[in-house]
Symmetry: C3
Subunit: 207 residues, 3 copies
Amino acid sequence: MFELLYWLDLFGVIVFALSGALMAGRYKLDPFGVVVLAAVTAIGGGTIRDVILGTTVFWVANPVYIFVILFTAILTIILIRRPKRIPKRFLLIADAFGLALFAVLGTQKALDLGVSTSVAVVMGIITGCAGGMIRDVLCNVIPMILRQEIYALAAMLGGCLFIIFNSLGLSENVSTVCAIIGALKLRLAAIYWQVSLPAFHISEKEK
Amino acid sequence: MFELLYWLDLFGVIVFALSGALMAGRYKLDPFGVVVLAAVTAIGGGTIRDVILGTTVFWVANPVYIFVILFTAILTIILIRRPKRIPKRFLLIADAFGLALFAVLGTQKALDLGVSTSVAVVMGIITGCAGGMIRDVLCNVIPMILRQEIYALAAMLGGCLFIIFNSLGLSENVSTVCAIIGALKLRLAAIYWQVSLPAFHISEKEK
Amino acid sequence: MFELLYWLDLFGVIVFALSGALMAGRYKLDPFGVVVLAAVTAIGGGTIRDVILGTTVFWVANPVYIFVILFTAILTIILIRRPKRIPKRFLLIADAFGLALFAVLGTQKALDLGVSTSVAVVMGIITGCAGGMIRDVLCNVIPMILRQEIYALAAMLGGCLFIIFNSLGLSENVSTVCAIIGALKLRLAAIYWQVSLPAFHISEKEK
């Protein structure tokens, strides 16, 4: 059982590192800048979660994550140099996979450490969203999570689905996979149909 | 005594959540983006303080903060949709209340954990200013603290006043309230009369 | 031996505080904004390192850092007001010194706490680069580390050199100084000749 979660976690790191590297490609960064942006995106959320929960940070305990990120970033640079043109959606889709995986796995890790369910859902949102937020802030872009497509909502759905499935007596593996699929579907649907929740907008009276 | 501090703390969370939600309104975020920005503003500073001090993060220990933020953000969306126009100062004033409250309460919490007074004042500044800094960075705006009106100075004043009043033998409650009022007055005065300290400016010789 | 490291660390804090204060001068911040930006630049990286490693944050344990930053920022404001024009490179060079010093000292501190070498090198990169990253993000600029001149590479080189020299049986002091010089030379050379690694660039097909 531990095995499945571990591989899902590594897969999340890979897709987020890919999204960071693709973002870097838009800004003409040098190869080390690409690695840094990939790393920040891939481990930023989990690092903040672990620091807030006061537990050992996952990549300090297991340095394999560092090499996976390095490898992903280098491979992205090598493979993408040739066509040099990729559809814009590619970054969004990689980001969506990372979001769904990390939101559910983050919620689960928090629950394992014994926090209340509401805190666990928030930890899921942080794990899923914070890495991408830091990536966007470093590139001087308002983060996806704050712009209009359903983003934080998908992360929250993932965490809640996991808690619901788990409390219904499903095994942890099944709950995890189903919750990830649920969150992913919502986010991909939002990307595909460009669905947004109605925006909240205030005009300001200068006074 | 604990009670008063607890309510002041919750009040600080509410006004900062409000300031985050109002800022979100300027950028046409979706409702979940509003909640995220409100949360980051309200608990960002305290979270950084607790993480640096190595103590349990306050909202992990007591999830009521999460619900207070959720409630504040939703209420802001509902109530402000109608008039749709609010004076620009409203955000500044909510921010000033949060700043004064958190600067004093942050200093106090740090002192309770046994750090030296200079570190405690810095912790007060972090608690009061960091949430608003993150809010502004996420919205791609240079943070208030770095722009010209007296901001960090007000936070520092709050922390110092608390330490002075307390060492003069005033009760903790009285010291807290007086220090908050002092910091708030300075910041509100700076907003009202648009007072600034003289700016530090370097022209650059390109060479 | 401890002495040398301590003085090097303080020197790193001073040069980074200087770079933060100089950056502040470009943006016409008030004196307290200058102090805040100097502080964030000087202790941001080390703070993140200590928090991730779960050890006591260095400036909480030893508040002398706070006063050194305050003093550096105030001195910068006073001294630089007169000529009001300084070469642009000055900020880059101060930043390069801080980068080299902190990258090596950060790697060393992480190794002392018993993490694996790959994690220690990453900690060195974080210690050296994170403060400057936060400084740049707060000023709404894409961080140096992501732009084209060799930056993260110099930090990594510093950490790796230290590990190599140390494993070759050189004393800790000698290894530290040599590694710092190596990292500094690479970064200064990159600034001087404006050397960059070839940029990674993706054109996007909107589809």
